[in-house]
Symmetry: C2
């Protein structure tokens, strides 16, 4: 393998290792993944891995921290951008399928779920810095809508969870079932259907419902 000389090349290699490790952990789980195979898929030897990361565990932690945070910041930015809650919900309908398809977040989630009990402190970190942040962003948006009578009053925390539930389900579905059964879940139709349901359920339109 070509030697990484400059700092830029080195951080490129580090990113390459993290990618390879994510793919291996995702496919085989933490325990069944060998350091040798992470190295091979990154195009380097096992020994070189240890020049970049202390241990298998520190590699796991690096994956969670480097991949998930930028995505959640993107989502937060998205949610405060629109003034109206209804516009925000409409935005989610198109953004969520995109997030599921192009980001690495579903893979990270699968890895985290699978090996949660080996690394409880990583789970706690992920929960407070990724999951709770995402949920709060949506819950706050909904609460604003409920407060200024744009939306029906409901528990905003629970409603936020219900908004995210199909995202988790789709992530698992596409990664686990679609991969092993060679099928393809229609994400656009799923989120379009969810959007219709949410709009009908949450809006106080036409002065009909009590």
């Amino acid at each position: 393998m070509k030697r990484a000389q400059t700092e830029t090349q080195k951080s490129e290699r580090e990113a390459q290792i993290i990618q390879s490790a994510l793919e291996q952990f995702f496919q085989n789980g933490f325990s069944a993944t060998t350091m040798e195979s992470i190295g091979r898929h990154a195009g380097i030897s096992k020994g070189t891995l240890y020049l970049y990361f202390d241990s298998k565990e520190s590699l796991f932690i690096a994956i969670i921290k480097t991949i998930a945070i930028p995505q959640i910041e993107h989502l937060e930015a998205l949610l405060i951008q629109k003034p109206s809650v209804l516009e925000t919900l409409a935005l989610l309908q198109t953004e969520l399928p995109r997030l599921l398809r192009v980001s690495q977040l579903p893979k990270v989630a699968k890895v985290l779920i699978s090996d949660a009990f080996i690394f409880p402190e990583v789970v706690r970190h992920y929960r407070t810095h990724v999951v709770d942040r995402g949920l709060s962003a949506v819950a706050n948006c909904l609460r604003r809508g409920m407060d200024n009578r744009e939306l029906v009053p409901l528990d905003p925390e629970m409603t936020a969870r219900l908004v995210f539930a199909p995202v988790l389900m789709s992530a698992i579905w596409t990664l686990v079932f679609d991969r092993t059964c060679n099928t393809q879940l229609n994400l656009e139709l799923l989120f379009e259907t969810q959007h219709k349901i949410l709009i009908r359920a949450l809006t106080l339109d036409e002065a009909s419902h009590v």
Copy 2:
């Protein structure tokens, strides 16, 4: 360990082994679980395991097949029992938290998700015999309601997925986050909120919505 003499005692022991294996696979994943620890938790030695199951893999398959099927049959029975779709939805609101709390289905799901790629044929079996059956049961129920104008017309397959999404989310949440963060998700409030949303979104009441 007391010797299992009769056929009844033997199948009790088999069930005990399956329980122990589920707990271990759930906590540590397939690869990191040792046969010795499965035996220890079932109160027998490692060698005895091999009198009941050929291999670690056959133990994994036995878990999926013996635990999930009875639960899904229970759900199917529940869904055809009530004549009205609305009554069925109301029933789900109380049944789903119960299923999440008392059945082993969430643990089985977590194990299956974690080790999906090691056993693709098990995933396919689980999908056709458990997941697709459950989804179809709900989708058929919804389709009936849409056909006889009890419900708003929407894609019944997708709506069924949206009904189940919070179940999967709650399963993961309670098993992964609540366990490691010492919190407790309010399942009753969650499903009550979902029920309110579904009722408002799906019913064609008061002749208001188009």
